[in-house]
């Protein structure tokens, strides 16, 4: 039999484990139209719910008359705040310690706010009925500018808490103020700045935008009144948290609630929060005894659920004449909209923004963030980033460029002399983080060489001369970025969401014939967990990834976990998977020892089997061990082969990368032509390079959108000006460039397999790379800062202001 044994190399290849470009197991279904997304779910007798939304950004509601709507055949109910009030559900807690109206209670605070919930036999009747609900409004003064919101005498937005001097995150100094959150040493930083050789100062605005996954949010709530069980299907990035929240809100015991996330058509942070649509669907199902479906349309999605960013970042960066950075100061005015519904770990109202010292060894720093209410939609989600990390990366990468300009230095060199050095890791940043590992200089040099940085600068200088001579109207911009992410939230001692520690979990069962099922507390929204988690496990337990089913998203079967966002799946659930696999292997070793009649310690692990040390012909494969665990009585061991692991990460992980973007900008049309984009990522151990590359392409395209055109814009009346895909920029295949990807590999020292997570790096690093390229093109003409998004019109205006139109 041993002659038939494939050699070691073949056995490793058969596993399809860590590091292999395994094709995705999800794809056969998706390419043939057999996905199962929430809107594909149809239950017998299902009703359809839809919202009457506010056309005003700020108004008092005088009356709501649903008579005509209720008279329409097929309309079952129209819910308003008055109907929810007896249940205590007209308001709900937010993830950020604030509360939010489920349905407008006396007034509306943003355009698109949910005013009434119509329940009807199908979506056409619901749409008709919405038009028939008469709401009378008295409009109130609107505030869309967070600085104006804090002025004396500004209109009171949140009357419900106008007198409260204390919020969830400390004192409130104004009726429209939410919190001031500070980190670092303010006095020491200000002292350094006041005596520095050079200080660069700038207001850097990261505009409001939206994750806009291709599938909008939605759910189907189904209350079975006979057995008292509520089933909730929906686009949830954190199904277990939704179950806990649903239980706390509804009073239904948690074991009687089953939350299922089916296939999800992209999330990017949009699907982390709990929205009024979920609450209303649950109530409507309880009231009617029928399943109720609610699916946002695209306008609802863009107007009401989950904006991102909207940070006004005032920065000062101090340095010596030689360019050594000596201090960083930052004050953020954070526009949170009408309710503070940011999805951050409880203790961090500004997320992990204090990673804003970036990749640089900055001895002293201070950050203060003021959260402010305005008449805009609530949200503040991590749009493909870990909790405000993309804001932080944009801030520091702009400040570095502005400093380079002030010092008249090359921005690549300025970065190099300030990088945290390899031997400084683990590195304690001035704002309190412990960076686990990194090798920035190696990555930077590799990137600069790959694009022939010197050659590019030479070409740029020649182009500038040609431009000045009138031979071309195109300027060349070289956008540099070196970013450090902080992902994998997070250690339970300081990270929780609504009190739930941010651990994650994996449960594994090995079947008698040597295949397996693994269930996790996370949920894929396109990341390919069914493919990649099986790879992690295959390498740990020696069963081919093709024989491992990965299941997520059903709270009745999956172990409790905090879900998928903030690039936490690989760092946290991936670690749980590896550790659960190691528990399996530990028991397997005892079984193998019994079968081979040797001591446990006489065995060694070899790819997919335990081998007797020094006697390679004596072994038991994992498949044989699995079978034995079910059919033999092994003294001292329980039958079966299962394990579960709940992983509480000791630290975050710190992926990093070097991105370089080259663009040609036509100063007369404002068109920016992206000619080259190079992305080097270091995400530690690489699980599936094909999936990593795909994530990088996708994240860079989101970054392209954000930097070059995508925004949620409001006029002064609080009207959303970008409420459809006509106005809200999503790049097509035509505008999107090809990307060159590359990598270095610096494993995380504290993660069981050394992986760090990658999904969000390209969004975090991509935005400053694109934006810096635009700024760099105009650097020679003195441009310091122009706010994103850099659409053609804004670029044209920049050129015009700089006097480039003659």
């Amino acid at each position: 039999m041993n002659d038939m044994t494939p050699n070691r190399e073949e056995r490793v290849a058969n596993l399809k484990g860590l590091g292999c470009k395994r094709k995705r197991v999800e794809d056969a279904r998706f390419t043939q139209g057999k996905g199962n997304y929430v809107d594909d779910i149809k239950l017998p007798g299902m009703l359809f719910g839809d919202f009457v939304r506010s056309p005003y950004a700020h108004a008092r509601i005088k009356s709501i008359n649903a008579e005509a709507a209720l008279a329409l055949p097929g309309v079952i109910a129209v819910l308003t705040a008055k109907d929810l009030e007896p249940l205590g559900l007209h308001w709900m807690p937010t993830l950020a310690g604030d509360k939010q109206m489920v349905l407008a209670d006396g007034k509306v605070l943003f355009q698109g706010q949910e005013v009434a919930f119509v329940v009807a036999s199908d979506r056409y009747v619901a749409a008709d009925a919405i038009e028939l609900v008469e709401v009378e409004y008295d409009d109130l003064p609107v505030i869309t500018d967070p600085f104006k919101a804090l002025e004396d005498g500004a209109t009171v937005l949140r009357e419900d808490i106008a007198d409260k001097k204390e919020g969830a995150h400390g004192p409130r100094r104004h009726h429209n103020h939410i919190f001031l959150w500070e980190e670092g040493n303010k006095a020491a930083t200000e002292a350094v700045i006041s005596s520095a050789d050079v200080v660069a100062e700038e207001m850097v605005y990261y505009h409001r935008t939206h994750p806009c996954p291709l599938e909008t949010c939605g759910c189907v709530a189904s209350m079975d009144k006979i057995n008292g069980k509520l089933t909730l299907y929906g686009t949830f990035q954190a199904p277990h948290v939704v179950r806990t929240v649903a239980s706390l809100l509804s009073g239904i015991d948690e074991h009687n609630i089953r939350v299922v996330s089916p296939d999800i058509g992209g999330g990017f942070g949009n699907k982390v929060g709990v929205y009024p649509g979920y609450v209303c669907s649950i109530v409507a199902s309880i009231v009617t005894g029928k399943p109720v479906k609610w699916i946002e349309d695209r306008m609802d999605n863009l107007m009401a659920t989950a904006f991102a960013r909207d940070y006004w970042m005032q920065g000062k960066i101090a340095a010596t004449k030689e360019g050594k950075i000596t201090g960083l100061w930052c004050h953020v005015t954070a526009d949170h909209g009408a309710f503070d519904a940011c999805a951050d770990p409880t203790k961090y109202p500004a997320g992990f923004f204090h990673i804003c010292t970036g990749s640089y060894d900055i001895p002293v720093a201070y950050v203060g963030v003021d959260g402010v209410y305005t008449n805009k939609a609530p949200g503040g989600v991590a749009y493909r980033c870990s909790f405000r990390v993309t804001e932080a990366a944009y801030f520091i990468e702009r400040m570095i460029e502005i400093l380079a300009q002030k010092l008249d230095m090359d921005a690549a060199e300025l970065r190099r002399i300030n990088f945290i050095r390899k031997e400084q890791f683990p590195y304690h940043s001035a704002l309190g983080w412990e960076y686990d590992s990194g090798d920035y200089h190696t990555a930077w040099d590799k990137a600069l060489e790959a694009v022939d940085y010197k050659g590019l600068r030479k070409e740029q200088a020649e182009r500038l001369e040609a431009f000045k001579r009138g031979e071309t109207r195109k300027l060349m911009g070289i956008g540099l970025t070196f970013f450090t992410e902080i992902v994998g939230a997070g250690p339970v001692k300081n990270c929780d969401i609504l009190g739930m520690g941010m651990f994650d979990s994996c449960e594994i069962r090995i079947h008698p014939t040597g295949s397996a099922i693994a269930r996790l507390g996370t949920i894929s929204q396109g990341q390919g967990h069914a493919t990649t988690f099986a790879q992690i496990l295959a390498s740990e337990i020696g069963i081919s990834a093709d024989k491992i089913t990965v299941e997520e998203g059903d709270t009745d079967t999956a172990p409790y976990g905090l879900g998928t966002y903030g690039s936490r799946s690989t760092p946290v659930a991936g670690a749980a998977t590896a550790l659960a696999g190691r528990k399996i292997r530990a028991k397997a070793q005892m079984i193998a020892a019994y079968l081979l009649e040797v001591h446990d310690n006489d065995l060694e692990w070899d790819v997919d089997r335990f081998v007797v040390k020094g006697a390679p012909e004596r072994f038991k494969t994992m498949a044989e061990i699995a079978y034995a665990s079910y059919n033999q009585a092994i003294p001292g061991l329980e039958p079966g082969l299962e394990a579960v692991s709940y992983y509480d990460p000791p630290n975050m992980t710190y992926p990093f990368g070097a991105y370089i973007c080259v663009m040609d900008i036509d100063v007369d049309t404002g068109v920016a032509d992206i000619r080259q984009f190079y992305a080097l990522d270091d995400c530690g151990t690489r699980i599936n390079p094909m999936v990593i590359e795909g994530q990088v392409h996708g994240g860079l395209t989101e970054a392209l959108a954000i930097a070059m055109g995508q925004e949620i814009a409001y006029d002064e009346m609080g009207n959303v000006k970008t409420g459809t895909l006509m106005d809200f920029f999503l790049p097509t295949a035509w505008e999107t460039p090809n990307y060159v990807t590359d990598h270095t590999e610096t494993p995380s020292p504290h993660h069981p397999i050394g992986a760090k997570g990658v999904g969000e790096s390209p969004n975090v690093g991509g935005v400053p790379a694109f934006s810096n390229a635009v700024h760099d093109a105009f650097r020679a003409f003195g441009l310091k800062q122009s706010h994103m998004p850099h659409d053609h019109w804004r670029i044209w205006k920049t050129a015009n202001k700089l006097g480039l139109h003659g």
Binding site: R29, K34, D39, G265, G266, T732, N738
Partner: protein, 174 residues
């Protein structure tokens, strides 16, 4: 509510009929009345292409057509592309080249690409990018979608798809 009309269509080779309101959109009739849920809804304003189906030999966005306008039409959706022998080469190439992530845009993408390769059997990368510009994807950044379509075209033209530079990664070409 208007009286219902009697709608007859040929969908993926099958003669199907139903009663529906004349104002119902084709995408809703497909998904709700015929349970053909491959085509998706991403915007209902003809921007995203998630709802793309093939109607009488043309790619159409099924969210922007009343079902009544499709009376008597022959429609192919993503469900109709595979044959008893297996997946269509486009479906295989999307898998091979990682041309999808969440899969939400994929049925529309593949259905559009299927028509594109009939309109232009051997397109350049630029022609693929232009021809696919009506379909949005939020996950992939298009690079691998373009690659998958070029690889499918190469195979359909009897070439070895792995030999085309266009379907290699830039790292492989270098």
């Amino acid at each position: 509510m208007a009286d219902k009309m009697h709608l007859k269509l040929t969908i993926n080779g099958e003669h199907l009929e139903t009663l529906c309101e004349p104002r119902e959109l084709l995408i809703h009739v497909l998904r709700e009345r015929f349970n053909i849920t491959g085509p998706h809804i991403g915007c209902e304003t003809s921007h995203c292409g998630a709802c793309t189906v093939d109607l009488d030999g043309k790619s159409v966005k099924a969210c922007t057509l009343f079902a009544a306008q499709a009376q008597g039409a022959t429609i192919t959706t993503v469900e109709g592309l595979a044959s008893p022998e297996g997946m269509h080469v486009l479906q295989e190439m999307f898998r091979e080249h990682h041309g999808l992530q969440c899969g939400y845009c994929t049925p529309g993408m593949i259905t559009r690409a299927w028509r594109l390769l009939q309109e232009n059997p051997d397109p350049t990368e630029e022609e693929v990018r232009f021809g696919m510009a009506g379909n949005l994807c939020r996950c992939t950044g298009y690079q691998n979608i373009v690659k998958a379509i070029l690889a499918a075209a190469a195979i359909m033209n009897g070439r070895d798809a792995t030999a085309d530079d266009a379907v290699k990664t830039p790292e492989e070409v270098a």
